[in-house]
């Protein structure tokens, strides 16, 4: 799929119609919003700049649609918030989405209640490292998000501005990566509710605290 800049308007429109045309079953309202995003417009009259995709519409998305959506979001210069809560994002759909979404202006990404696993997380890495405003990430209620996913996520978030990481009700049991990677300087909130991190998790958090203390002492 060529980048938007290299396509003529006709080609862009054709691509849009293939992925989001009336034949797809998407609502008129959703097609209108997608068109606004494609054209770098303002979604809400209130100026929220938030894109919400509802599960009933998400189910109609083909891989091409996900990829195109990713590309539109990447090219949007002032979109703040994307909410893909409960959109049945599998590894395959994540791969399609993030093959287009390699950078963004987003400050908030909500991909809770989905089903992707490690391959899905790996496909996000480039996006995470090229979204300088990204502060809030919600990846809750996903049984396939395990310790390996957490490790890849934390590694990808090094030296980023992420402030809040919500990982409630996933399948994380090992958070020792936090001890090795202490470069989440802006992390304010870490939500690990309902993950069985147990005693080992406490030791990792304790070691992280000691490490921080030593850094503070050393100025």
């Amino acid at each position: 799929m060529a980048s938007l800049a290299n396509l003529t308007k006709e080609q862009v429109d054709k691509e849009f119609n293939q992925a989001f045309g009336r034949h797809t079953g998407l609502s008129k309202g959703m097609r209108k919003v997608l068109d606004i995003i494609k054209n770098n417009g303002i979604i809400s009259e209130l100026g929220e700049n938030k894109f919400v995709l509802y599960p009933a519409e998400a189910i109609l998305f083909t891989n091409q649609a996900w990829q195109l959506l990713g590309k539109y979001i990447a090219n949007h210069t002032h979109l703040d918030d994307v909410d893909l809560d409960g959109c049945s994002l599998t590894d395959q759909k994540m791969f399609a989405l993030f093959s287009g979404l390699v950078k963004s202006s987003l400050s908030e990404l909500d991909i809770r209640d989905n089903v992707f696993g490690i391959e899905g997380v790996r496909s996000m890495v480039r996006f995470l490292q090229n979204s300088p405003n990204l502060s809030y990430i919600y990846i809750m209620e996903n049984n396939n998000f395990n310790s390996e996913c957490f490790t890849v996520l934390v590694q990808a978030l090094q030296n980023t501005r992420v402030r809040r990481l919500e990982l409630e009700e996933c399948s994380i049991t090992d958070i020792s990566v936090l001890e090795a990677y202490n470069d989440l300087p802006n992390l304010h909130t870490l939500n690990l509710n309902c993950n069985k991190i147990g005693r080992g998790g406490c030791v990792s958090l304790a070691n992280l605290s000691y490490k921080k203390e030593i850094q503070d002492w050393n100025g």
Partner: protein, 199 residues
């Protein structure tokens, strides 16, 4: 990191103790949630109480963790005395704007009042020692101001309780034949009191 949500995370007493000890000198974590961890018993709860209020000496109470302003250890329902005490210390952290103010408030409430001190010893699982025993370890030169503070904050009965066992030490401070020595001691006393109990 300021918020740490660890509800239902399979944490036991040893995990809680490891976490608690690491928070002893931590000045960033403000909120910690540990509800739904039914394997954390009185032992783990006590570890957190010790971090929030170290009972072993006045100095250690003063240097406890005053940063945590929200801590949820159990689900709603009937709370044990230990949990209620933790809630009370947390409220003290929240109420006092500076670490110094919180440390001072904890010393006054938990160390310099005989009933509170008795309750605290019980909750910490250590033998009760009276205020007299506590003050016996303190440089006599500091005693007059500490006693004045006890009288001011807790009334005459408490002052009397503290005064009886400390009277001999107190008398040793009254020695007008060593004016220069007293002057040096006064400076030391002022510095110590400013550090511990000053406004």
């Amino acid at each position: 990191m300021e918020w740490l949500n660890l509800d239902n995370t399979d944490i036991d007493d040893e995990g809680a103790e490891a976490l608690a000890i690491s928070l002893k000198h931590n000045t960033t974590v403000k909120t910690i949630n540990l509800r739904g961890n039914s394997n954390i018993t009185k032992i783990g709860h006590r570890a957190f109480l010790e971090v929030l209020h170290d009972m072993s000496s006045i100095e250690n109470t003063y240097n406890s963790n005053h940063t945590l302003t929200e801590m949820n250890l159990v689900d709603t329902g009937r709370k044990s005395d230990l949990i209620r005490c933790i809630d009370s210390v947390i409220r003290m952290n929240k109420k006092n704007p500076t670490s110094h103010a919180a440390g001072r408030a904890k010393v006054i409430k938990y160390q310099l009042n005989s009933q509170d001190r008795r309750d605290q010893c019980q909750l910490h699982g250590i033998g009760y020692s009276s205020i007299g025993n506590l003050l016996a370890d303190i440089d006599p030169i500091l005693l007059p101001d500490i006693l004045a503070l006890i009288g001011e904050e807790h009334g005459h009965n408490e002052l009397y309780n503290a005064l009886v066992p400390t009277a001999p030490d107190l008398m040793s401070c009254v020695n007008t034949s060593h004016g220069s020595q007293l002057s040096g001691k006064k400076r030391y006393r002022d510095n110590e009191l400013t550090r511990w109990l000053g406004h």
